[in-house]
Symmetry: C2
Subunit: 207 residues, 2 copies
């Protein structure tokens, strides 16, 4: 479970999209994105079922009450959550899962599955650059952008909750950095299911 | 401090040499090898001061008594140790240090500097392959090879002392794996000196 968090506009969605394309490029499914549910309005550039599952508040409450959500949070007045079932299915199949969630969701997932989560925080090079990216996106009104900028300081203040930190100066470099973290973590002894049996086999080998 | 350990012949020296060439290829000194001292005989292919500093037992005892050794161990009847000073100088200069040492040395360094050490264990694909590599090296007599093989099982049994494990099927792939571990670890929040000040700067930035 690889968590990417950042303030809005710091570029984590672009990093996530490029990472998935790169890691699965030989047609395999080595890692897949956890698609969140949200009650907020769909942006013009977003595709339902790909960027988010767009649902109403009643459906959200129903999923929460049935314990079908791995984590949930309210951000800028909208509700966001991670459906539990697709994550459990992927992990059981040996597929890593990438999460594009905020600090509140990260805290909840970390409490539920502490040893399975690798958390990366993405920082913008400057706040001015963050503001410029939100303006370039031109999908939210001025009021929404102002609110996102104000909230970004709250998000950034939680950077110490994360295992890794990268500064997104350049998309290609940031994707390479997240990829190194992913490939390194996969080689951790405690994550290598079956390595104990492999070593037992080595030690038992007759020469 | 990046520690590589493995039984003799599993290929860690080749991995180390190729990793150093790759990581420092733009002429920088991003990571350097800690050159151990040893009382064993120099092999024909080895260069004094590059592969080891070859010293006698009296000099070894003197260095140990003066606390000039970061770790030391006896392996196959020979003494091996890491001189302290070059390591401290590199780390102070912000240069990572690669150690090609055994499980005994790794334990000593881990006790002295637990948060600064990243430990990687290199396993052979099979014991038969390990034996074949020792024979191909053709630098040690049959008796020495037999002893190394017997001791390799002791070394392998300590694989659980390590943070990461790789199986050396292929040199290029193993170097890429160690490189991913190195680059990932450099991005750990706790290793990024100066990131706290960077974030303070972001949070204080006027827009």
């Amino acid at each position: 479970m690889l968590v990417l968090s950042s303030p809005s506009g710091a570029g984590k969605s672009s990093i996530a999209r490029n990472l998935l394309a790169q890691e699965n490029k030989d047609g395999g499914r080595a890692i897949e994105l956890s698609v969140s549910v949200t009650t907020r309005e769909r942006r013009h550039s977003e595709v339902a079922g790909v960027d988010y599952h767009f649902i109403d508040s009643a459906r959200f409450a129903e999923m929460r009450d049935r314990d079908e959500l791995l984590e949930w949070a309210e951000v800028h007045g909208n509700l966001y959550a991670t459906p539990r079932k697709p994550v459990e299915q992927a992990l059981e199949a040996g597929i890593d899962v990438l999460f594009d969630i905020d600090w509140q969701g990260t805290q909840q997932i970390s409490e539920k599955m502490p040893s399975d989560v690798v958390r990366i925080f993405v920082l913008p090079p400057t706040m001015a650059e963050l503001q410029a990216r939100l303006n370039r996106r031109a999908e939210d009104g001025a009021e929404v952008i102002a609110r996102r900028l104000a909230n970004s300081r709250t998000e950034i203040a939680h950077w110490t909750d994360y295992d890794y930190v990268i500064v997104n100066h350049d998309l290609t470099r940031s994707v390479a950095q997240v990829s190194a973290i992913l490939h390194g973590e996969r080689l951790r002894r405690i994550r290598q299911v079956g390595m104990g049996a492999f070593v037992d086999g080595l030690l038992a080998e007759d020469l």
